[in-house]
């Protein structure tokens, strides 16, 4: 029914419109066509002139109204070092094209008005003028050459890749339908290799090759955090279709292409907080961030830089958002220290770990530091004796034979004991409660002895060994986790 009414209304409007048209024609016939034509010609000429004035006014006023919301104007200066060059070039271009825009429009509509048809005037036969044509070929050429030269100078500066000698941070963004995976290189400063065939959404979203040691410390944060003033090279990848890594406030944009890594180099020049402060004086940013909640903060207080996708990638194209936080360098270092590597937290010692059951250099170093500090604490402590657990001392199952990997911890221990004076060290072995109790005592004693023998070979003397079997558990024997904790080798340092 509604449809029918709608159709009827449309038909009615059509009929009315046609009648209006016919009416004007009939009126023209009655009044005499020429007179009507001349009058309407004059009227139209005036309308064209009015349009010119209104149009130019609209352009300038609307531009002024929106300037605080546009990038490059009002509070929206670029947040990267190259960004202000781009904004400057934009404004130079706006200046020149603005002049052309205004002059040509005035000429177009003014001539239309001035040379409207009049009965007794004849058109001026003016087929061409070589001089005029040369002028308006040459003048635009000069302006354009100027714009091209300034543009290309900036372009080649901006797009230049980093020099390996430079001091820069390299991070990686990988687009997929419909989000971004981010990756930081970790302490080694290098992103590890990856291969799309190794991608497994549950355990390896980027397809990192875990045999590449550069991957061990790479971490995958959920937001981009960068220090102010440091050059950043973003390596841009895609897993599936085209995406585009777009940071509007930083004037950064580059397609993410599957199979072809791209990059963009930029230097953030303002922290998130500084940029928010920049906005605070403008009424647009004093509005409530959440208009429905009168308690919410003002927009400038909640300001965040954003990462968006700018290449159509499917139905979720409009939702690929990540936050970008620019902080002071000290804060950045602190943030870095809090991040944990993807490998360590998700891959280490799982079935996907090619180094499962082996110690990594990084773990050995870390343990060396830990052991040294535990040893020092024990010696400096007021108590006369202290227990240190030898975490990285391993035996073959059911035997007292030391595994190869134990040597790192024991070598370090040997040097620590040799460097200290006036202490005596006892090695103790412990087992869980499974199996025969007597056998456990024998095994733990044998293992403690094996450690003593190894240390003696490294020149440590005066060590004693004891096996406790399962008599001194530190954890419950009811769980696998607890039993694992109970199987251990310790040293007791006595001053």
């Amino acid at each position: 029914m509604t449809g029918l009414v709608a159709i009827l209304i449309i038909v009615l409007i059509a009929v009315i419109v046609v009648q209006i048209g016919r009416l004007s024609e009939i009126a023209a016939k009655i009044r005499g066509e020429e007179e009507v034509e001349e009058r309407s010609n004059n009227k139209t000429a005036v309308y064209l002139l009015l349009f010119l004035v209104a149009f130019l006014a609209f352009c300038f006023i609307s531009g002024w109204m929106y300037k605080d919301r546009m990038l490059g104007y009002g509070p929206h200066s670029a947040a990267s070092e190259h960004g202000s060059d781009l904004d400057g070039l934009f404004n130079i271009t706006l200046f020149w094209t603005g002049i052309v825009f205004v002059i040509t429009h005035i000429a177009l509509f003014w001539f239309s008005y001035k040379y409207r048809a009049q009965k007794n005037r004849k058109a001026y036969f003016f087929p061409h003028s070589t001089r005029l044509e040369i002028i308006w070929t040459v003048v635009p050429t000069f302006v354009l050459v100027y714009l091209v030269v300034s543009g290309l100078r900036i372009w080649n500066d901006v797009m230049f890749d980093v020099d390996p000698e430079d001091d820069y941070i390299e991070i990686e963004a990988t687009g997929y339908q419909f989000a971004w995976d981010l990756r930081y290189p970790g302490p080694d400063g290098k992103l590890g290799t990856k291969d799309f065939r190794k991608i497994d959404l549950a355990t390896n979203p980027l397809g990192q090759d875990w045999t590449d040691p550069k991957n061990i410390d790479d971490f995958q944060p959920t937001e981009i955090v960068l220090p102010k003033g440091k050059k950043v090279r973003v390596r841009i990848n895609s897993k599936d279709v085209l995406h585009n890594f777009y940071l509007p406030h930083f004037r950064v944009k580059m397609d993410a292409v599957p199979g072809l890594p791209t990059y963009f180099v930029f230097t953030p020049s303002k922290t998130t907080e500084e940029y928010g402060q920049q906005l605070r004086d403008y009424p647009e940013y004093q509005e409530l961030a959440d208009p429905t909640d009168p308690e919410s903060a003002q927009r400038w207080e909640e300001f965040e830089f954003e990462l968006a996708c700018a290449e159509l990638c499917g139905k979720g194209h409009y939702s690929m958002r990540r936050l970008v936080k620019i902080v002071e360098p000290a804060e950045y270092e602190q943030w870095l220290a809090e991040q944990s590597s993807y490998y360590m937290s998700n891959i280490r010692n799982t079935e996907n770990d090619p180094f499962k059951g082996q110690l990594l250099d990084i773990e050995i170093l870390e343990r060396d530091r830990e052991l040294t500090s535990e040893f020092k604490t024990a010696i400096d402590a007021e108590e006369s004796s202290a227990v240190i657990r030898l975490k990285n001392v391993f035996f073959e199952t059911g035997s007292a034979e030391l595994k190869d990997d134990s040597k790192y911890e024991l070598n370090k221990l040997a040097s620590l004991i040799n460097e200290s004076e006036g202490i005596s060290v006892k090695i103790t072995g412990h087992t869980d409660n499974t199996g025969d109790n007597d056998a456990n005592i024998v095994l733990s004693k044998d293992r403690a002895n094996a450690v003593v023998n190894y240390l003696s070979d490294k020149g440590v003397s005066g060590l004693t060994a004891q096996g406790y079997g399962s008599s001194q558990p530190v954890d419950s024997n009811d769980t696998e986790e607890g039993r694992k904790n109970n199987r251990r080798t310790e040293i007791i340092i006595t001053k």
């Binding site: 934009f90 040379y115 409207r116 001026y124 290309l152 950064v252 397609d255 072809l260």
Partner: protein, 618 residues
Amino acid sequence: MSDVLTQKQDELDILIEEQGYDDHFHDHHHGDKYQSNFIGHYIFSMDHKIIARQFLITGIFWAIIGAAMSIVFRLQLGFPEADLTWIKPLLGKWIVVENGIGTLSPEFYYALVTMHGTILVFFVLTAGLSGTFSNLLIPLQIGARDMASPFLNMLSYWFFFLAGCVMFYSLFLSTGPFSGGWTGYPPLSALPQASSGSGTGMTLWLISLTLFVVSVLLGGINYITTVLNLRTKGMSMWRMPLPIWAFFVTAVLGLLSFPVLASGFFMLMFDRGLGTSFFLSEIFIEGQALDRVGGSPILFQHLFWFLGHPEVYIIILPAMGIVSEVLSVHARKPIFGYQAMVLSILAIGFLSFIVWAHHMFMSGVNPFLSNFFVVFTLIIAVPSAVKVFNWITTLYGGNIRFNSAMLFAIGFVSMFISGGLTGIFLGNSAIDIQMHDTYFVVAHFHIVMGIAAFFGMFAGVYHWFPRMFSRFMNETLGRIHFWVTLIGAYAIFWPMHYLGIAGVPRRYYSFDTFDAFKHFGPMNQFITIAAIVVFSVQILFVINFFYSIFKGRKMKVKNPYGANTLEWTTPIEAGHGNWPGKIPSVHRWAYDYGKDGKEFVPQIIPMEEGEQAGDAAH
């Protein structure tokens, strides 16, 4: 004035018989077997004038569909919270009703955006504009009986029709039409798993556009041959009216660039169906790593834009030609700098082939390569600027009649200036870093090749309507149409520049996710309302068009505008073969308006003794 014209017409007819060229056309076509029945006359017609009308009306059909689509997705952008349940009868499952509120699904939003682009660029502004006016004007203005091959010409239309049928069918697929953008970039377009529209929708899209390429090539080769071989006696290349130059260069561009697009399409079809990897490499999608390596998605972009950039000139050159003619006729003045106009058309045509990568500054091509494309892109602004200055100078000192055709021609110049100038921003790669794929681009190309081309088309339709249908369109409605379209089009697209400068990306279904983009609600509403108004007034044009075909004011004289070109020397109801007797021969260029005190001197009038040629260059 009409009496004078009638009297003059009779003299001119005598002149054609005296001076004209006898090709014995009517000796061979007794009874005109080509037009003997309804089907032969109106459907499978080989008469260029009928084919032109077929192109125009099909173009109008597609323009309405394409524009209506834009209204639907503008509703989503302007009024994201509005209830769209009322369009559910039309769009069915693509309107998702939740809690009584119907919203447009994102998949279909992207399908609409894609179809809008494809339809408008190819079906309306290529076939509808160049197809209509090349067909109508080339034989008429150069003094030919018809196209060089009327049969190929007919095929050209029917391939276009077929392309339209396939595309139309794809709109009703359960998986939806193609939704990966009118540029169809792989891998999105190559992998059905990437998007529902990339399944059957994309297959049909490719088939449809391949048929369309065939249509363009058949048409183009015909236009070129006709212009080169069938010019009447005295019609040297330098005497051709500017529309003919424009159509000629357009056809050359199409002939050189569309095959490249077709090759890209074939490779894409192979990637989709035969397991090749032209455009695919290292893809992990839907939990699976594809066994495709070694291809490059960027290769497709090169092939696409090698057509795509000439394509925008294929769209705008015919509009430029039409506008040059209309401005000159109604200003009663010669077009200023005819030779410069021709040379700039040629320069634009040539340069349009070496600027394509300016669409790809941020796509991962070597940044060094972009340097060349920046230079050529900005060079192309020079011939464009020359054209603008020449149009304006054509108005200077004129005696201007403001009818709908002239108003749209003036509007075209304004649009071309506004949209052309923003091209200088985008063509400079450094600015493009920020502006690429934002609403600034949307504003730029809609104004310069969308609205401007439409203005050229409207100017042409209003101007040559009497030539096509022997009746005039209604002037009052034409002026309402002009004013609302002019103001409305700026109201739609001018604010988009601000969105773009604020960094708002194009092709976003919703802006709510991003704090930087979501605070432009009122502006988006304003744009949507303006779009609805402009759309409604186009319906007014369509009503005026069809009404005037049957009921418009009759054309009483052969040459109602006092124009110089040959199409106005044919009978009011011109039959097959255009001229009843001999073909007129030509003695001068097409722009002797206001020369030696005469208001106009048609091309068929011989030079008087001692008369200088109007264009002093020869």
